[in-house]
């Protein structure tokens, strides 16, 4: 499938957590502690900038939801609880943001002003996210790619949102440990023209960010969004692109979606469909006679059926716009998001769901629906039904114009679903509790001297430790590069470290061992212990497995130690083997060490250092040869 589409423009956006304490208080950026308390809050609609209310804001406020916040006082204070004003901005995080901006040759602004970005989904206890524009792109700030330069646009420093634990229509539960962790938001101009180029950019930037050594690693510590616009269509913000491999599908399917939506618009214009006025009917009675299980269950739940006629749309709701997604699916997204209903049934799916052709014609006749009219049915109470159907109608009316600008969510197959309208600039206003930050010129000059090394420089460095070029190339790209450096500085054998990081861990991962649950510091402690205690390297695999099951490092190390066999016992075994294989030694002399080594190691698998076996074996062979 070719994704090289001349008319597509892609911009990339990264959200990368930094490795420092929280941005506006002194709590540690520590995840995973069990919450000990909870508060309940409501988030209310805000007046926003210039007095206009933000569409995304109105959307959230339509649902008067209860928000529960679980917290542990070890990593959350009154700031996270929105019970105290923010502390001054975390200087270290600010310096890291400067460093990253300078690494991409961006221009750090002279005076930085923290803003409040309105967020009403409960993910921030305040109802807004604190964010500051730190640097902007200039002609100097670009990334070279095989398909041309990609310019950097902006770099912001902002606070991470709270982690969502559970959500439903009425309430949501968040955990506050993640709230306030510093993250940078780095965005490019829409200079990317193909999925391949997008992947190249993502890989390069991800690598450079890691090489700073100042960013968090591990699941969720980096999130990527794509901005895609298509000539004749419109701009879409696609959130939550976890896997880079998904990018080609996302781009391809988005082009397909926008093209199909344009086709629908043209068809609507051809049919002379004009803006449809809101009007709906209750059709519970007409459906009561139906044998449909779906209908019977809904009625049993006490729900009613409401129908929205869509004159002129017959046949269009079933039109496929992305794999397994029809125009009706887009309408269902709107109904779910705005009305909180389970979904919709539309006329192009009928007869279906046990609703027969007779049921359909009864509905059509009773409500005087014309032949060219499509319709949408929802099952719910009247309040939600009205919100849902109004949203569906809004979406249909937007289809008359073409492709609406939206924030969408990436699905695992690369298709996307509607999340919310694209937020306007109206959602941003100044954080009144903080002073502007005047950037010191000398700080910038000083940081320019401390820029992180380029990938090439890092490779050279690694190879100087005696690591092979191939491994060095892999190490540069490894999220564990900092672990490598730390351990090598502690005099751990570089080859051993890189082999654990590049071979052992990935192989365990492939076998379903949850190695990613091992914290960076536990991993380092373990490898260091292996080196200092001269534990058999072969046992590292078992140690990692124990560690991934949640065992303490010290206990893992003790377990391995207890298994290690003393030198005397090893020598006895070796002497026995040498005696058994005396003939082999006579034949091959010193060269016999290779096959014998294998034999001995097999008996001791993981319980003895290979180097020790080698030394003893050499001695014993020599004794025999004399």
């Amino acid at each position: 499938m070719s994704t090289k589409e001349p008319e597509v423009k892609i911009g990339f956006e990264w959200h990368q957590r930094l490795k420092t304490h929280k941005l506006f208080c002194d709590c540690p950026s520590m995840l995973g502690l069990k919450p000990e308390s909870r508060v309940m809050r409501h988030i209310r609609l805000s007046y926003s900038e210039l007095g206009e209310q933000d569409p995304a804001a109105i959307l959230e406020a339509q649902r008067a939801r209860k928000f529960y916040y679980d917290f542990n006082s070890m990593n959350s204070c009154l700031v996270e609880l929105d019970e105290a004003p923010p502390h001054e901005i975390n200087e270290e995080a600010l310096r890291i943001a400067f460093k990253i901006a300078l690494m991409f040759r961006m221009q750090v602004l002279d005076e930085i002003r923290v803003m409040r970005k309105v967020v009403l989904d409960g993910s921030n206890t305040t109802g807004f996210q604190r964010t500051a524009l730190v640097a902007i792109g200039t002609k100097e700030s670009f990334l070279e790619t095989k398909e041309g330069n990609v310019r950097f646009k902006t770099l912001c420093l902002e606070e991470e949102s709270a982690f969502i634990e559970e959500t439903d229509k009425e309430e949501a539960t968040y955990r506050l440990d993640r709230l306030g962790i510093p993250l940078i938001e780095l965005a490019t101009e829409p200079d990317i023209h193909s999925a391949k180029q997008a992947i190249e950019v993502a890989e390069k930037v991800g690598l450079m960010l890691r090489l700073t050594g100042d960013v968090q690693r591990g699941l969720g510590s980096i999130r990527q969004d794509l901005n895609i616009s298509i000539a004749g269509g419109s701009r879409q913000e696609i959130k939550g692109v976890q896997e880079l491999e998904l990018i080609p599908n996302i781009v391809y399917y988005e082009i397909e979606r926008q093209r199909n939506l344009i086709k629908i618009r043209d068809e609507l214009n051809l049919r002379k469909v004009k803006k449809i006025e809101f009007n709906y009917f209750e059709v519970t009675n007409a459906l009561k006679k139906s044998n449909s299980k779906l209908v019977k269950e809904a009625i049993a739940r006490g729900e009613n059926a409401y129908l929205l006629p869509l004159p002129g749309l017959e046949g269009l709701l079933g039109m496929q716009i992305q794999p397994k997604r029809r125009f009706g699916t887009e309408l269902a997204d709107y109904a779910r998001v705005w009305g909180g209903v389970r979904g919709i049934i539309h006329s192009d799916e009928l007869p279906g769901y046990g609703i027969t052709a007779e049921d359909v014609s009864l509905i059509r006749n009773e409500n005087n629906l014309s032949k060219d009219s499509a319709f949408v049915i929802v099952f719910s109470d009247i309040k939600k039904a009205e919100l849902a159907l109004r949203a569906v109608l809004n979406r249909v009316n937007m289809a008359l114009e073409g492709v609406p600008t939206e924030t969408r969510k990436a699905n695992p197959d690369g298709t996307t679903s509607y999340l919310r309208p694209l937020p306007g600039a109206a959602r941003m206003y100044p954080e009144t509790d903080l002073l502007p930050i005047v950037v010191n010129k000398s700080t910038i000059e000083e940081l320019k001297m401390q820029l992180p090394p380029t990938p090439e420089e890092v490779m050279k460095q690694i190879m100087e430790y005696g690591v092979s070029e191939q491994m060095a190339r892999q190490l540069v790209r490894s999220p564990d590069l900092q672990t490598f450096y730390k351990l090598v500085k502690e005099n751990v054998d570089p080859v051993f470290v890189s082999s654990v990081l590049l071979n052992t861990i990935p192989s365990l991962r492939r076998n379903g061992i949850k190695v990613d649950e091992i914290s960076e510091s536990d991993l380092q402690t373990l490898i260091l212990a292996f080196s200092r205690e001269k534990l058999p390297k072969e046992a590292i695999e078992e140690a990692l497995m124990l560690l991934s099951e949640g065992e303490e490092v010290s206990s893992v190390v003790n377990k391995i130690k207890n298994k290690v066999i003393g030198e005397e016992e090893v020598r006895k075994t070796i002497q026995q083997v040498v005696l058994e294989k005396k003939e082999l030694i006579n034949q091959r002399g010193k060269d016999a060490i290779k096959p014998l080594m294998g034999l001995v190691m097999e008996r001791f698998r993981g319980k003895v250092q290979g180097s020790l076996v080698y030394e003893l074996l050499k001695e014993e062979i020599e004794k025999v040869m004399k």
Partner: protein, 449 residues
């Protein structure tokens, strides 16, 4: 800080003023945005031009990095707020009125500059809380002042008292006062004394979070206050505020018993030496905890709005200098509340006689200046008999003020002195319970409630 002369000259030269859409050329880039004013006290770089970029971010660019600046489009209006609809009359619901005096609850943010100004009109506040429409018939909403509560004086207390009485005489079944939180408990105490013949509930409430944010506490406080104003069976002045950090329960605190106990939490107001008089659930149910209050009545209220300005509240502490009392005596003060330590002790037997307050107290009482003693323990009752220090102060004419809070004692003293009673009457009246400010027993549940 406001813009420097250098920047202002640049603006004049290019015919630019704050609020213009400008194109700034800096760092070799063209930046488009709205030119913003600089805050008066932001400690920033006066040489930096602040603009709001199209993406919504405000940034400052030092004038030395700007190669050109020019006006592009027409002047855009800096602030525009939603059109306020008129307050709808709902004759079937109880009539109440709102009075706004300022404070966080009445302040709004200038969304462009970030400046906080106290400008909100009561109508705007009420329009932000649509729930009120089903609770009360809002008869009037009037802005009396736009003052932070730390800027209020007894003169404003008098005006508020008169306004409340005016509304009550016009037939309101309750009044809600929107007020800054810092000194709300002083105003609550003042109204408790100044409004005589109170016939319905009077509620003060405010906000600990600014009203621009989605997490504001004001809406819940206003809703709960309106419920108390309309449904509470007792005619009492109270503060209604969050009960905890949750948005699910408010407490009703007697006006003479409230104190702001936290700088920033939304449950900052706590009752001192008493339980809350009631709780209000998020569903609007009131559960009364203290029953022996005056019921709503047909009494005609009136404003007994006097206050002696020469009343002071001061604190003793290790090393405190009693000359401060001498100063007040010399300045003609008529009454002083001394916030002592522990059971109401003031330094009397210090090693260095100059630190003893005894002579100054004696000097005051000899001149018929009232000296009352409360405790900076905040909780509990003062007692002059347990330790010698207190006995001495008592002997020299100080009056021990039972379990009144220091703030309430100060307000009560000023109010009594305003009536020109003689000193012996003042001494008796200070210990007479007018508005629940003194209790007979000490409820063990009331500590750190």
């Amino acid at each position: 800080m406001p813009y420097s002369k250098r920047v202002q000259e640049l603006f004049t030269k290019n015919g630019i003023s704050v609020g213009d859409m400008v194109e700034v050329e800096a760092y070799g880039e063209r930046l488009l945005g709205v030119l913003l004013p600089r805050e008066e006290i932001d400690f920033g770089d006066q040489d930096a031009i602040v603009i709001k970029l199209k993406n919504g971010y405000n940034v400052g660019i030092n004038v030395s990095n700007i190669s050109s600046i020019r006006k592009t489009e027409t002047h855009i209006e800096l602030e525009k707020f939603p059109k306020i609809t008129e307050i709808k009359q709902k004759p079937e619901l109880p009539k109440i009125s709102f009075i706004s005096t300022g404070g966080t609850i009445s302040s709004r943010i200038d969304y462009l500059t970030g400046g906080v100004a106290m400008l909100f009109s009561p109508e705007e506040i009420l329009n932000g809380v649509p729930e009120l429409q089903s609770i009360a018939n809002i008869r009037k909403a009037e802005r009396l002042f736009s003052l932070a509560s730390e800027d209020l004086t007894p003169n404003e207390w008098k005006q508020i008292a008169r306004k409340v009485v005016e509304f009550l005489r016009e037939g309101d079944e309750g009044v809600v006062i929107l007020h800054g939180t810092d000194t709300m408990h002083f105003t609550a105490a003042a109204l408790s004394f100044m409004i005589r013949g109170l016939n319905v509930p009077v509620v003060l409430t405010g906000a600990q979070r600014s009203v621009d944010r989605g997490s504001r506490d004001s809406d819940f406080n206003i809703i709960s206050s309106a419920i108390v104003a309309t449904k509470f069976p007792y005619a009492v002045v109270s503060i209604v505020f969050h009960s905890s950090m949750n948005d699910d329960e408010a407490i009703v605190i007697r006006g003479t018993r409230a104190r702001k106990m936290h700088t920033s939490r939304r449950d900052a107001f706590r009752p001192i030496n008493e339980l809350p008089i009631a709780k209000v659930s998020k569903d609007g149910d009131i559960s009364v905890l203290i029953h022996n209050l005056k019921l709503r009545s047909k009494d005609t209220p009136w404003a007994d709005d006097v206050f002696e300005e020469k009343t002071a509240l001061i604190k003793t502490y290790p090393g405190s200098n009693p000359e401060i009392l001498d100063f007040l005596i010399d300045k003609g003060y008529k009454g002083i509340v001394l916030e002592g330590t522990g059971l109401g002790h003031v330094p009397t037997q210090t090693l260095d006689q100059r630190n003893s307050w005894l002579n100054a107290i004696k000097r005051a009482t000899d001149q018929s200046i009232f000296v009352g003693i409360t405790s900076q323990c905040i909780y509990g009752r003062v007692d002059p008999y347990v330790y010698r220090n207190a006995r001495l102060a008592l002997k020299y004419g100080a009056t021990y003020l039972s379990d009144m809070t220091s703030e309430t004692a100060y307000v009560k003293l000023g109010w009594l002195l305003g009536h020109s009673f003689d000193i012996e009457d003042i001494k008796k009246l200070m210990l007479f319970n007018f508005a629940g400010e003194i209790s007979d027993g000490d409820d063990p549940r009331a500590y750190l409630y």
